[in-house]
Symmetry: C2
Subunit: 338 residues, 2 copies
């Protein structure tokens, strides 16, 4: 089969790779329905993370079960399934505690921009829809497998509550899905920090009540002005840079909460500053599996439409162009169709 | 009147100072019933914090109202009152959010090792007991004004829940009160990290089920052994050093919570490590005022006995010896009687 392989910064190729096979009895193999490029894929693409040997890319997927290992009984060939970028057995103590993305048997997906994908821990990872959903739902379900699940987790970790004020730092797909999540959780005021008109528009469509275009301390000042001088109850940090984290921590009110879901790159948090702020901080890879049944339902009942974050659709064999478009911020997120 | 004044590291003197007066209409003046030395007083005493000009010391107090400003109506002369090291109006938005120690009008107390004390924001800060409690309750109520309130906050910030496992890092008075709080909140297993026999004994008396004497990564390993390999649901960090914070973060299970209440000294938290741990982190100066009515009640009904952390009692004029004894760890906490 064929799949995306990164060779060097800026060099992603669609080429022949080995067909995935059942390796462990807990594996499944799926035929990819749709996949996509993630903001985090841009870290190695931009040379901000080491690449090493050429390797496959992609961790977002929905698809059709092709084959299952002997220990997989929860899904069967032909079913349409949604998973997560982090696989989980969904039975270990960390899974039972709701942190499936910290499963004792976790494997991070990394070969999904391809025609077929092997899914480890398939029993605990994959959730099948009742019937094969219309193709129009596929982008939304694909979003659920990563960016929507991550936006939900950001809002959950930031403890968004009905009637509260939420700030979203980052206007990428995760940040935009964070707006959806904050809205669904009942936030009364949702302030999106964004400089890009198309993203502002989508943020508003998803439920943002205010847009702040300023950044850094200037952006924090604007947030303070909008929140009676004290800051927001909840801040969703959806970037992962030191500047975004600083902005998030400063935008939260005393005793507020920051949920951080951008993988931190060179971020150090000053203990004394955090102390005197009273701000609660929690982050990590989203436990998407915890939210899957609920989020799938919200998509299929058209309550949420996170598939709108895909503003570019390409055939899978043009994956390289997808990376380029996202790198140059011509696209928020690129959907890839095998 | 007379009070404690720090002149230099290791040099605390009991000497004549100005009598406190009503300065603002929201002030009260109290006659000290009992006061004490705090672990955090040892930072400047040990030269770990700059001292500058000689200045009064002390931020823990219970006493009798002597005089109130014209805007103070909630307490009156003669009443026995309990307060907090951080004063608060108890009406501003931060107070209403439950973070009275981040009150917009907050003033930190700093003159309490003295015969009389001016209390700013007296209306919101002081809570009077129904009648003057027996002298036997004074140490417990004094503890409530700081160390017990702080231990409670540590357990609250660490989200201790019924049936959960809690670890307490630090066997000072705050850590020991943290054990009381974890017990009251229903933790099933309470692991105290302590190397000192007298403190271990008190920890057990307060409800600790296990003692870990190892420190650093070795201590973390012991905690993991005691918690099925994953770490504790809640960790109370009651020290404030980089080592203690590291220990606390590593002792928490994936998705667990660390409440940190020791004022951090040169503590930096690595964003990426925190991210992958899924651990929630919240700290700060304890919002003692939030807990005062409840904790006063628990003391007066003999449900808790945090006064036991005072293992040395001295006349106030021997305050210098109190500092020495705590510095040399001959005393856990020294009670001072005017």
């Amino acid at each position: 089969m064929r799949g995306a392989v990164i060779h060097a910064p800026g060099d992603v190729r669609f080429e022949a790779v080995d067909d995935p096979k059942i390796v462990h009895p807990t594996d499944a193999v799926i035929r990819t329905a749709v996949t996509c490029v993630c903001g985090s894929d841009l870290w190695p693409y931009r040379g901000a993370e080491p690449i090493g040997d050429p390797h496959p890319m992609g961790h977002e997927y929905v698809g059709f079960v092709e084959e299952v290992g002997p220990e997989v009984t929860s899904v069967k060939p032909g079913q349409f399934v949604v998973g997560s970028f982090a696989t989980s057995d969904n039975t270990c103590v960390n899974c039972r505690n709701g942190f499936q993305s910290n499963c004792l048997h976790r494997e991070f997906m990394s070969t999904c921009q391809a025609e077929y994908v092997r899914i480890p821990n398939a029993q605990g990872t994959l959730v099948a829809t009742g019937e094969v959903p219309d193709e129009g739902f596929w982008p939304g379900l694909l979003a659920v497998s990563d960016v929507m699940g991550t936006g939900w987790w950001a809002a959950d970790a930031a403890e968004v509550k009905p009637g509260s004020t939420a700030v979203v730092v980052g206007d990428g797909a995760v940040g935009l899905c964070g707006v959806i999540a904050a809205k669904e959780m009942g936030a009364q005021r949702i302030i999106a920090m964004s400089r890009h008109e198309s993203r502002q528009k989508l943020a508003r469509e998803f439920g943002a009540t205010d847009i702040v275009t300023e950044r850094g301390e200037e952006g924090v000042e604007r947030i303070k002005e909008l929140t009676g001088g004290i800051g927001a109850d909840s801040v969703l940090e959806c970037v992962g840079t030191a500047e975004a984290m600083r902005q998030a921590l400063h935008a939260a009110r005393p005793g507020g909460n920051v949920g951080f879901v951008g993988v931190p790159h060179e971020v150090a948090i000053d203990g004394q500053e955090l102390f005197f702020s009273h701000v609660g901080l929690r982050g990590g890879p989203a436990p998407v599996r915890r939210y899957l049944p609920d989020l799938i339902d919200r998509v299929l009942t058209r309550r949420i439409a996170p598939g709108k974050v895909f503003d570019q659709t390409l055939p899978l064999d043009q994956v390289a162009e997808g990376y380029r478009a996202m790198d140059e911020r011509r696209a928020i997120k690129t959907l890839l169709k095998p």
